[in-house]
């Protein structure tokens, strides 16, 4: 069903950036929680986990129920505990911030409860009574996994079509390894699939081995959780030189295989988003002595999170702000990046050209949007490659729903989980309209 991971992977060199809590520390931290009413942390969570409740259950050593509370809202609660940017979500909303006291370590507490659930192999959910309805899901990433699990609880048969050999989506091949490694994502995906009744077809590309029309005919509904496509390119000279790669592709390579870094002395990462920061920290963590993040805007204007950037800075990542590559140069492989400084309007300033040595260049300037694959379906609207959906993931064409990065343009795992689940509920309401539940 899913290809096993090689034991030798570059990502295994990384230790956890945020350390797990042991029991006593978890209980002490849980006891700090004020148990707010209409808690801001819950409102800040896209999946609306009842955070005060799960924390209170940790405080009383009722960890099994705590984990259940988490998974009830977010079946991917284990990975979200590690990969969520809690600093700008639940933890950022904690009222302790206004009290000038450390906010509750919600992510770490969630990890404590969900890790224990995995360790003890606790299971909380059963498939609903079969409805006879069938739902196809495109992509085996977080959005589809969350959607499929919810659909199974509601009794619908699910088939996931995944073009890769490996499931889990970005959780498996995109998350920074100091947050979560690929094997953990696969463990989670299998834990989710263990509800049963979800057929996973890997190595199947929708549009090739199976057509949209076939899916529409054979299934009662289709959920599109296709994620994003290939890394974008700059379209400048030398971009095809060996050593110049898309950052997302390189991260996948590094996470799933052993990347040869022996010849890499200096790396340039192009971009100012979270993928650029991840790639910078990852190359640095793999021992590249000089890592420079090259961004056309300013630190204040970058889309990457400030807390992630601070960590990169502490780990020794350098930066060139307001800088744009204009050519990659080298004999046989990339050796230098020719750049120019930009003004506040991101226009090149004449005479400011400079060169940075680099034998690895990673482009983190965005990814292709996959929405166009649905372009042939009348009633589905696609804007700049992004599939348009309503609040419940409905595309506007009967049977077709979507969620995750292909609809939001590239957000967090937790957004995908929330959107997948919401779409599953909407699918259930639509396909069960007028039908009696067994």
């Amino acid at each position: 069903m899913t290809a096993p991971l090689p034991a030798q992977r570059s990502e295994t060199a990384f230790a956890d950036f945020k350390l797990p809590l042991m029991r006593d520390a978890a209980v002490a931290e849980a006891n700090r929680c004020l148990f707010c009413s209409d808690a801001p942390c819950v409102n800040a969570c896209p999946t609306h986990i009842d955070i005060p409740q799960f924390i209170r259950k940790i405080a009383t050593d009722n960890v099994r129920s705590s984990a259940k509370t988490i998974f009830e809202s977010n079946i991917l609660g284990m990975s979200c505990a590690r990969v969520c940017p809690v600093e700008v979500l639940c933890v950022g909303a904690c009222v302790y911030n206004d009290l000038e006291q450390p906010p509750i370590a919600i992510g770490k507490l969630q990890r404590y409860a969900t890790d224990m659930a995995f360790e003890k192999n606790w299971r909380f959910f059963e498939a609903g009574k079969p409805t006879g309805k069938k739902v196809a899901l495109i992509g085996a990433g977080p959005a589809s996994l969350a959607a499929a699990h919810e659909l199974r609880r509601l009794g619908h048969a699910c088939t996931i079509f995944e073009k890769r050999a490996t499931i889990g989506g970005l959780n498996t091949f995109g998350v920074a390894p100091y947050k979560m490694k690929a094997d953990r994502s696969l463990t989670e995906a299998e834990w989710v699939l263990a509800i049963g009744g979800i057929e996973v077809k890997t190595g199947v590309t929708v549009g090739e081995q199976v057509t949209l029309q076939q899916l529409e005919q054979q299934f009662d509904a289709v959920f599109v959780g296709a994620g994003l496509g290939a890394d974008s390119a700059l379209g400048i000279p030398g971009e095809n030189l060996p050593g110049v790669y898309g950052a997302v592709a390189w991260i996948e390579h590094m996470k799933l295989t052993k990347a040869d870094m022996s010849a890499v002395k200096s790396a340039v990462i192009v971009g100012g988003g979270n993928t650029a920061i991840d790639a910078s920290r990852e190359t640095r963590g793999l021992g590249v002595r000089s890592v420079t993040m090259l961004y056309r805007g300013t630190r204040e204007g970058m889309s990457g999170y400030q807390h992630e950037w601070s960590a990169a800075l502490e780990e020794g990542v350098g930066t060139a702000w307001q800088s744009l590559p204009i050519a990659f140069e080298g004999t046989g492989r990339v050796q230098r990046v020719k750049c120019v400084k930009l003004d506040a309007s991101k226009r090149p300033i004449a005479g400011t050209e400079f060169t940075i040595e680099a034998d690895l260049v990673l482009l983190a300037i965005g990814q292709a949007k996959l929405g166009d694959m649905l372009g042939s379906l009348a009633g589905v609207s696609v804007h700049k490659g992004i599939v348009k959906v309503d609040a419940h993931g409905f595309t506007g064409r009967a049977k077709w729903y979507a969620g995750g990065d292909c609809t939001n343009g590239g957000k967090e795992v937790v957004n995908a989980a929330a959107e997948g689940k919401a779409a599953a509920r909407a699918i259930d309401a639509a396909i069960m309209k007028g039908a009696a539940r067994a």
Binding site: V27, A28, A30, N31, L34, F35, C36, S37, D38, A39, P40, A59, V95, Y96, D98, L99
Partner: protein, 422 residues
């Protein structure tokens, strides 16, 4: 520098902080280390016919992650020979002549009392404390709280002790009674020079919910123990204050029960204790907690203009009255400081579920709104609020003159309309 010296029924101490008769006061070397750390006096662990103890002996009550917030024990009186204890008392008095040693005693017959009293005084004891309080083990043998619960027996044995003693006699009272007054008065009639209270409260500290055995566990059984520690302070304060305000009582009081720091000590003193005794907090943290107790008490006295301890002892007793003497027309309402509020809305949940449904969330702000026409001024919101001085209870001028229930019933004084009673 305020003078911390005290006089409890003729027992003089350099400061009001005594070790209670308990494990921290079990031996000479321990008490010598305590005196070195700064403790004023020590009540020696109860002497009597040496006993045999069980293991385990202690149980802790964890509250909100705080270990030992409550505590209990099933340990008995000294398990060391009387001779050893007396020899160490003498040694300790030689090394620390200014620190009073009060010898706690528990025996059965008049002859035993007479003998042990003489030997304790001969050894150097500055005072005696009659253990009429122990609620576990010893009471099954007709001693400890079995004495303290029977005023006639209390009075008789106190009488013996006073008769045979040449040093002041304190009677240690048990809280395992419905009203402390008859027991304090019995000690007084017996001639005691003072009382110490409270001893521990009869308790089961918890249950091992996997083995189905109460704690602390002795094999596969347990027994009731004596509850103490921070959690018992409110009960102790009440019993101390009840005796302190009783018109016919008037004996000095050594306060015991959940004293953990200078602030607790001040509370006991303001309610009538001239000294305080500490056990549990020393068991949990060690003797060196006394440094902060001494410093903190001095700072408190300095900031309130007290030069001597006796100026503050009992200072809050006049304000401790019957419910029927409280002013029913005194009215307060809660005010929330919007600048300080962090929007946790604990007050909303507390008021809605636990009080009078007068604090409401607002649409456009996390700061809740108090409906003052419904607020009964109960204080719950202030208790749950995590932000210092964010919620205050502000007096309201309702135009009514003060009137107590007693004045209303006996003199017909008018009461303000009730709030929140619909």
């Amino acid at each position: 520098m305020p003078d911390l010296s005290t006089n409890t029924g003729g027992i003089h101490s350099p400061n009001p902080f005594w070790l209670a008769s308990a494990p921290p006061a079990n031996s000479g070397l321990q008490i010598q280390r305590a005196f070195e750390a700064g403790w004023g006096g020590a009540v020696w662990k109860t002497l009597g016919t040496p006993i045999q103890n069980v293991s385990s002996r202690f149980g802790g009550h964890t509250i909100g992650g705080v270990r030992g917030a409550g505590f209990n024990n099933i340990e008995l009186i000294t398990d060391r020979s009387i001779e050893t204890n007396l020899r160490e008392i003498t040694e300790t008095k030689k090394l620390f002549p200014k620190n009073p040693i009060i010898v706690s005693l528990m025996v059965e017959t008049e002859a035993e009392w007479k003998d042990l009293i003489k030997r304790s005084i001969d050894a150097g004891g500055d005072g005696l404390e009659l253990n009429f309080g122990c609620p576990h083990g010893m009471c099954e043998r007709g001693m400890g709280s079995a004495v303290g619960q029977e005023p006639k027996i209390n009075e008789r044995i106190t009488g013996w002790a006073v008769q045979y003693s040449t040093v002041p006699v304190l009677v240690k009272l048990t809280p395992n009674v419905s009203d402390i007054i008859p027991h304090g008065m019995a000690a007084k009639r017996g001639g005691a020079h003072g009382v110490s209270l409270i001893n521990t409260i009869k308790s089961i500290i918890g249950v091992d919910i996997d083995r189905f055995v109460p704690n602390p566990r002795v094999g596969l059984a347990s027994t009731n123990g004596g509850y103490c520690g921070s959690a018992v302070k409110p009960i102790a304060l009440h019993m101390v204050a009840a005796l302190a305000r009783h018109k016919e009582f008037g004996l000095p009081i050594s306060g015991i029960g959940g004293v953990c720091n200078w602030r607790d000590a001040v509370e006991f003193m303001l309610l009538g204790s001239s000294t305080v005794q500490v056990c549990t907090e020393v068991m949990l943290r060690g003797y060196r907690i006394v440094e902060d107790m001494i410093d903190g008490l001095q700072e408190y006295m300095r900031s309130h203009g007290f030069d001597r301890v006796d100026q503050m002892v009992g200072k809050a007793v006049p304000a401790f009255s019957e419910w029927g003497e409280l002013d029913l027309n005194y009215e307060t309402v809660a005010k929330i400081d919007a600048d300080k509020c962090i929007g946790c809305q604990l007050c909303v949940a507390a008021c809605h579920d636990g009080a009078h449904q007068c604090i409401h969330p607002q649409q456009d702000s996390r700061v809740p709104r108090v409906d003052e026409s419904e607020c009964v001024g109960c204080n719950l919101c202030q208790i749950v609020c995590p932000v210092p001085e964010c919620i205050s209870l502000v007096p309201v001028n309702n135009g009514f003159k003060p009137a107590t229930w007693n004045e209303h019933v006996h003199q017909g004084k008018p009461l303000r309309p009730k709030k929140g009673a619909h």
